[in-house]
Symmetry: C2
DNA sequence: TTTACTGCAAATTCTTTGCAACAAC
DNA sequence: GTTGTTGCAAAGAATTTGCAGTAAA
């Protein structure tokens, strides 16, 4: 689905629920869908603050994210501790995540075979799946390389004690 | 690994880090490992409050959970929004989770084939996995049945509008 | 004009922390 | 005795909420 169609869908969503299309909601929606990055409520709030346009308060960001979530336009994912992170789901194929502990980058991956096995496991238990979260936590290729380089240098120059 | 051995391992863990085995830590450890249920910090705190023994404050519960986490005796999992939930990992085979939205029950499942595909996906991207969280969210068999029965009764007796 | 929306600041929820008294080692 | 621990209450971080003014429809 392309941007234009998604926006229409959001407007329809608001109308069916007798909600109003305010300039704040519009800005939040546009900003959230103009990126392919994952973002937290705070990040989105910061973006909106830096860019020009009608003022949007933090409370409204949270409230609108709630709406987008209900409408299944976006999806939240828990990336370790702390704040929730969002990504748009409409117009974006389903996928799972790999979260890098060092740089925070979130890579997406997808494997039909895993999905099939998941379906099999839940069917066997009579469990009806509404959504699923599949997250691998570790170190991405770039950070692993970087760490390896640093280890080598440490060896070469003789470093101090290893600290965390 | 059986209980006795796990406790020894915990004591060893404390000793290597020059930490002390206090009655509070001991109680928290014993309580956490005496159940196969998943628990939150608050739940654990409540258990300790109801049962008799040396007083344990909420702060100490959090601090000790932190220690157990560092020592990989327990593992945390994000079950939807809000608080973190813990389970012991030592002496317990690896598994994934199905979380029921209706009753909150957490079922465990495991499939070697999924693990293998996960390993394949991460290897392909040069991603080094430290841990993973795989969670299916939905409705368990019991709750699905219950909901179905209620739907049938609603039809039979003619219910009002469906509300959330 | 009606009904919903927004910003603000205060409230909540979960978790962490500073500090003085206290208990392992 | 030392050094790490505890409880308490206050602090923090993320998110929610009550309310009076404001803006869509």
């Amino acid at each position: 689905m392309k941007h234009e169609a998604i926006r229409k869908s959001f407007e329809r969503f608001l109308r069916t629920r007798d909600l109003k299309l305010t300039s704040q909601r519009s800005r939040i929606f546009e900003r959230a869908f103009s990126t392919h990055e994952h973002f937290s409520a705070e990040t989105l709030y910061d973006w909106l603050r830096e860019e020009e346009g009608p003022k949007v308060s933090r409370a409204t960001v949270y409230r609108t994210l709630g709406l987008l979530l209900e409408g299944r336009f976006i999806q939240s994912l828990d990336v370790g501790r702390g704040e929730l992170v969002y990504e748009h789901v409409t117009g974006h194929a389903h996928h799972d995540h790999m979260v890098c502990l060092a740089c925070g980058k979130i890579e997406e991956f997808h494997d039909e075979r895993i999905e099939a096995l998941q379906a099999e496991a839940s069917a066997k238990r009579g469990f009806v799946v509404v959504s699923h979260a599949h997250r691998l936590v570790g170190y991405c290729r770039g950070c692993v390389r970087k760490a390896r380089r640093e280890d080598e240098e440490e060896q070469r120059f003789g470093g101090g004690a290893a600290t965390e």
